[in-house]
Symmetry: C2
Subunit: 214 residues, 2 copies
């Protein structure tokens, strides 16, 4: 598996049609301290997605940050990305791992301890756990209690990251949860100043009681 720092995982806005806007915001997130990036897209054809993924990969590489592709193992492989994230509707974790090979990052979504253990057993390198808060990017979201996040963090050895509506001013709820990081979309990618927003969230997470400091 590729080495990665899960502290601040910034995910692109899947509905951003403008490639230049998307890449500019991603660059802001990277400049602000994102440690991991994900390209999420529900909009483009596969050829366009591959071209965007290659540009995002070059951008992330210039910041030394791994790029994960949402859902699409084939696009991740073709773009030379660092990994893939699979959710409950996507290819199974075991298939993603088999196709990606051992050297790449495979992330999974987990809402229960059982799902977290299964994903770890199937080869996931990290877990996204949530939604902690309601989120603008998912229409129907089941809220995951921080207590469940805490249970998951205790049950698995791989890092678990909190996702869902998290911002610098509301992530105090994660104190003591054991979360290895936070995933954000809206709070950074739809911010007026993505770099400042990323830096604020990174600082807030690192300053949580019980977390390491910057």
């Amino acid at each position: 598996m590729a080495d990665f720092d899960p502290t601040l995982y910034v995910i692109t806005d899947a509905e951003e049609a403008d490639e230049a806007v998307l890449l500019t915001r991603l660059e802001g997130a990277l400049a602000g301290g994102a440690t991991l990036a994900q390209l999420r897209d529900k909009y483009r054809g596969d050829g366009a997605l591959l071209r965007l993924a290659r540009r995002a990969k070059t951008l992330c590489a210039s910041y030394g940050v791994p790029l994960i592709i949402d859902d699409r193992v084939d696009v991740a492989l073709a773009a030379g990305a660092d990994g893939v994230h699979v959710g409950p509707e996507d290819l199974p974790v075991a298939e993603a791992r088999r196709l990606m090979g051992p050297g790449k990052i495979v992330g999974a979504t987990a809402k229960t301890v059982a799902a977290a253990r299964a994903a770890e057993g199937d080869g996931a390198d990290y877990l996204g756990v949530g939604a902690i808060y309601p989120t603008a990017t998912k229409v129907r979201t089941v809220i995951t209690e921080v207590a469940v996040l805490q249970d998951i963090c205790r049950a698995v050895r791989i890092p678990a990251l909190a996702i869902g509506g998290l911002r610098a001013d509301n992530l105090g709820i994660l104190a003591g949860s054991g979360a290895a990081g936070v995933c954000v979309v809206t709070a950074v990618m739809r911010a007026d100043r993505p770099a400042a927003a990323a830096a604020d969230i990174l600082r807030a997470f690192q300053n949580l009681p019980g977390n390491r400091t910057a």
Copy 2:
């Protein structure tokens, strides 16, 4: 490349939500003489698509017919399918070939001689050329003249298949074109009797002046 017979290439209805209905119709097409099958889906999540692809692969294998997956190289690999078809909006032919490896079938869409030659050079095993007639499955379709199909058949060594609105009673237009086969969706997959429809189309194509006979 896997060996295949391009004579009658039946493609599933991408909007068929009912898995049992889809598989029953596919089985009819196979029983009626389809020589190649493609799973096309614009409806399912990736996990559901993979499960369907595995069932379709088992079904096709029982008839000794290769199964091609539309668009999704990762799903094709995970399902152990025989190949992938990539259109102009999909992953490039060269990427599909690289990810699938040399032993699998890679199909491409071509509407011009230049596109056909490029796809052949990038590793395509066959070409879908059309739409010959307007089709119910594509909203905006540019009609490809049979003269262009003929030029493509002369320009490349790989088989070129005619696609688009073809039925047993209208494929006479292909006589002398050099087409190695016909691709059909609606005429078989939305037929009352898919097996009889497939058999009729196969017979009509084989009986075209200049074609081999059954």
